[in-house]
């Protein structure tokens, strides 16, 4: 390799490094204190639990040999979370008045106390003014790693993208520009690089399971949109009961006043979860609301009459299921004109509730033949599992 080539390569490398240094991302100033607090909590002698704010706040963290104290200032008073090492002979905890993160906890005048991971935790502040408030506040508690990831993203991304890929792109474009592809002829280095790359890829197991998701954190604000998303997230992680509560909360926050397309879908969701919980009257009420709103959706190129007919059929089937009307459901299930098999599931469900197990199995089989192609209801994932369980047990 000639000296000039080496010089140009070195120059390109320096240029690429300079670009990366110049554009390296930084945390916005309003979030710096929270980031510093999280960094400080890494040194805590007990696993740190925190609440992540949605809005920027001047968070504080104090760590000592016994534990940590995390303070989140709010206009109506500070939210404080403390974690302390348990002594060898801990005092017995009083009568449990609520459950936090799956363990019994005690509430007393603005403070929730519980024990986990060999530590004693307290959460105090206006959020814990009552038992119910305290329970709500503790649902937003998460571990430090998850909090860091929720608030500041995946830690590897910045060094990988700005420390590796961006310089590589700059360097490569420089190579293209300089047309320096004539340097090496019979180098064995590329072959060695192939071996390294193959070994690196071989090291990653495709079967490795994803990190188990923590329960989604409840929204901090009373926003119907966020509460609906939270409800769907709870459904996603299999928390049907909590999801129903969140759907009801969304309704109380005014979701039925949304534009027709959104409120029709929301009320259909609500009808589904109410029906699954056995609240047939509530399900019928939600279906009626959804039907009214569905009729108000203006047709567009991407919402045409066949779409309206399809979604109306789903509502009709939910209402028939709420009435326990198997004849109507059977008719819907046999009607092949609309691309949905959800009526077959609902037929199976109604029959199962009525104790007609063989009829339920027959309907569930028809349902399983058609999903996932023609399963459109929100709870399709749960419905499939249930139908498969019943059929398997038959």
């Amino acid at each position: 390799m000639r000296g000039s080539t080496v010089f140009l390569l070195v120059l390109l490398s320096l240029g690429a490094a300079l670009v990366a240094w110049r554009v390296w991302p930084t945390t916005p100033p309003e979030w710096v204190s929270l980031r510093s607090s999280f960094d400080a909590l890494r040194r805590a002698p007990v696993p740190a639990l925190v609440v992540v704010p949605f809005e920027p706040r001047q968070a504080r963290a104090e760590v000592d040999s016994d534990g940590y104290r995390y303070t989140l200032p709010r206009p109506d008073g500070d939210l404080v979370i403390e974690g302390r090492r348990l002594p060898v002979q801990p005092d017995p905890l009083g009568q449990a008045s609520l459950t936090v993160r799956g363990v019994p906890a005690q509430w007393s005048t603005g403070t929730v106390t519980w024990r986990e991971n060999g530590a004693r935790y307290t959460l105090s502040g206006p959020e814990a003014a009552s038992v119910q408030d305290g329970e709500g506040a503790t649902r937003r508690l998460i571990g430090l790693d998850a909090a860091q990831r929720q608030q500041f993203g995946y830690a590897v991304d910045t060094p990988l993208l700005f420390g590796v890929y961006l310089p590589l792109l700059v360097f490569f474009l420089g190579i293209v520009g300089l047309r320096m592809g004539r340097a090496a002829k019979r180098s064995h280095i590329p072959v060695a690089m192939l071996a390294v790359a193959v070994l690196a890829l071989a090291g990653c197991s495709p079967t490795r399971a994803a990190v188990a998701p923590e329960l989604p954190a409840a929204p901090e604000t009373d926003s119907p949109d966020r509460t609906w998303e939270y409800a769907i997230d709870l459904l996603r992680v299999g928390q049907g009961e909590s999801a129903r509560a969140a759907f009801e909360r969304t309704l109380s926050l005014g979701a039925d006043r949304w534009p027709p397309a959104d409120s029709a879908l929301f009320l259909r969701d609500l009808a589904e979860v109410r029906l699954a919980a056995g609240d047939t009257a509530g399900a019928r009420e939600a279906v009626q609301g959804a039907r009214t709103r569905l009729g108000r959706i203006a047709p567009t190129a991407q919402f045409q009459e066949p779409d309206r007919q399809l979604y109306a059929r789903l509502l009709d089937a939910l209402e028939a299921a709420a009435r326990g009307d198997t004849a109507t459901l059977d008719g819907y299930a046999r009607d092949g004109r609309l691309p949905t098999v959800d009526p077959a599931y609902l037929l199976g469900w109604v029959r199962e509730q009525a104790g007609d197990r063989s009829g339920a199995v027959q309907a569930y089989r028809a349902y399983l033949d058609g999903v996932p192609r023609f399963g459109i209801l929100r709870r399709t994932a749960v419905m499939r599992l249930h139908a498969a369980d019943v059929v398997r047990g038959a």
């Binding site: 670009v19 110049r22 554009v23 991302p25 916005p28 992540v52 949605f54 990831r149 929720q150 608030q151 500041f152 993203g153 995946y154 590897v156 991304d157 910045t158 990988l160 993208l161 590796v164 890929y165 961006l166 590589l168 792109l169 490569f172 474009l173 293209v176 592809g181 340097a183 090496a184 002829k185 590329p190 690089m193 192939l194 790359a197 193959v198 690196a200 890829l201 990653c204 197991s205 495709p206 399971a209 769907i232 996603r236 992680v237 047709p299 190129a301 991407q302 045409q304 779409d307 399809l310 691309p339 999903v371 996932p372 192609r373 399963g375 459109i376 209801l377 929100r378 709870r379 994932a381």
Partner: protein, 494 residues
């Protein structure tokens, strides 16, 4: 005889020659001017209904050190939905410019000009300088590419990386140098991190360039060269794959497979009656804008809004309706991507014949511009001329190895687009290759007309052109097709 010697013999400059370089730079400069003009005319950079708002959000999160995340607010969960390189480039420009989307537009126009230069250089090596220049102009100096350079979309950077990869592949094929094979792989790897569809090109570029190498073919060398392309690609994409394994448990570049499948696969279950409209729409689009003169677009209008149209139903509306239908299901599933993939694959399994048959419609969608206008005229004429040129070369058995390599890449690209989901903008990255073959057709017609007018020499009934040497032509070329050197009207045989 090398291409260079061949072309010098014919007074047709090749890449590396001063005339080729000057031509390439001139085309690049023209592309720069057209691109800047479009930036001035069209102030929109982030356009609703396109992917650009997503790229903007990803870049803003990256610039604010929140990682590669789609969330507008906490939690900033890492995403695998998009490829990372383009948002990183945008984030870098944002960091330098104070989040100015216009600055990104300017950078993309510069990249567009650089791409045009590469297209001319590649064209001069593969189809001759004149077709190369025409190809560069058909890509870089027309409204379509300039249009995309002004929006926050991956088209221009991806095209640049793809052309760079092909240039290195052609150089590697001609000279058999290991470093060129490796660089072709690196460029492909960077391309994959910009648009994952480039994954499908890796085996074709690797095996194609290694197999078609000039000189005597030695299998160990073929294997080594193909492995070098693969190594270059794996070295680049490997870290991102590992990152995705850690965040999502899947060794993938992107998790968009399910979304794409969901847009297309449910169509396979549509009844036979629906095919009539699709055939009409396909025929109309293929003949666009000529069809506009015969059967105006408004004939297909069924509602008051512009998108209430049969052509738009075929192209966009149906796909959106399918996604709207299944999105609620997958939002509540444990894994959106897995849910969408499962639904799409279930349709393919249930209706395999329909799915394959509908690939014909996808071929139309990916290649032809659907709406009439000057842009469609240039685009669709380029596509038709390119296929005429390519088929002429194949039928007359004059396809060279380099040209074969480019056609292989186009074929692989089209096939992978057609298998999943297609939009006409997906053609943009290979449009320069269409431009080169279209340029070849236009130059042949031009030279033929010039020869008829007596201003260009004819040799034994054939027009002299910048076709590369017979030595590099694929073996299909029979010896009788080779023109004796002595018979050529050469001004300078040195």
């Amino acid at each position: 005889m090398s291409d260079g010697a061949y072309c010098q013999r014919w007074h047709l400059p090749v890449a590396g020659g001063s005339r080729a370089l000057a031509s390439a730079l001139a085309v690049g400069f023209l592309s720069l001017l057209v691109g800047l003009l479009f930036l001035k005319i069209s102030p929109e950079r982030i356009v609703d209904g396109t992917d650009s708002p997503q790229y903007d959000l990803l870049a803003r999160n990256l610039a604010a050190d929140r990682g590669f995340s789609f969330s507008a607010g906490p939690p900033f969960e890492p995403t695998t939905y998009r490829e990372p390189l383009y948002p990183t480039l945008v984030a870098a420009v944002y960091r330098l410019s104070g989040a100015s989307a216009d600055a990104v537009g300017v950078v993309q126009v510069v990249l567009l000009a650089a791409t045009s230069v590469l297209v001319v250089v590649l064209g001069a090596r593969v189809v001759g300088l004149l077709p190369g220049v025409l190809g560069g102009l058909l890509f870089g100096a027309t409204p379509e590419a300039a249009h995309y350079a002004g929006w926050l979309l991956t088209e221009v950077p991806f095209t640049l990386l793809l052309m760079a990869s092909l240039l290195f592949a052609v150089e590697a094929r001609q000279a058999g140098r290991g470093l060129d094979f490796l660089l072709a792989g690196v460029a492909l790897g960077l391309g994959i991190l910009t648009r994952a569809v480039a994954q499908s090109l890796v085996p074709f570029v690797a095996v194609g360039s290694a197999l078609l190498v000039d000189g005597r073919r030695r299998w160990p060398a073929v294997a080594r060269n193909a492995a070098l392309v693969l190594a270059g690609t794996l070295l680049v994409v490997g870290p991102w794959v590992l990152r995705n394994v850690d965040t999502s448990g899947r060794p993938t570049i992107t998790a968009r497979f399910g979304t794409n499948l969901l847009r297309r696969a449910p169509r396979a279950a549509e009844p036979v009656a629906a095919y009539r409209d699709w055939i009409v729409a396909s025929a109309w689009i293929m003949a666009n804008p000529l069809s506009e003169l015969l059967v105006p677009l408004r004939t297909f209008q069924w509602g008051p809004r512009p998108e209430d149209n049969l052509i738009w139903d075929f192209h966009v509306n149906e796909s959106v309706r399918y996604v709207n239908r299944y999105d609620p299901v997958c939002r509540a599933a444990a894994d959106w991507e897995g849910c969408a993939t499962e639904i799409g694959v279930a349709f393919i399994r249930a209706y395999p014949v329909q799915y394959v048959a509908q690939a014909a419609f996808e071929l139309v969608k990916v290649q032809f511009a659907p709406l009439p206008g000057f842009q469609a005229l240039v685009h669709n004429a380029t596509v038709w001329l390119a296929w005429i040129g390519a088929l002429t070369l194949i039928v007359r058995r004059r396809l060279t190895r380099d040209q074969g390599l480019l056609l292989l890449v186009v074929g692989a690209y089209l096939a992978s687009s057609v298998v999943l989901d297609t939009q006409v903008r997906y053609l943009v990255p290979v449009l320069p290759l269409y431009g080169l073959f279209a340029g070849w057709t236009v130059s042949r017609i031009g030279l033929w007309a010039a020869a008829r007018a007596g201003v260009w020499p004819r040799v034994r009934g054939r027009v002299v052109s910048g076709a590369p040497s017979s030595k590099r032509q694929i073996r299909l070329l029979p010896p009788r097709e080779r023109t004796p050197v002595a018979a050529l009207p050469v001004r300078d045989r040195s």
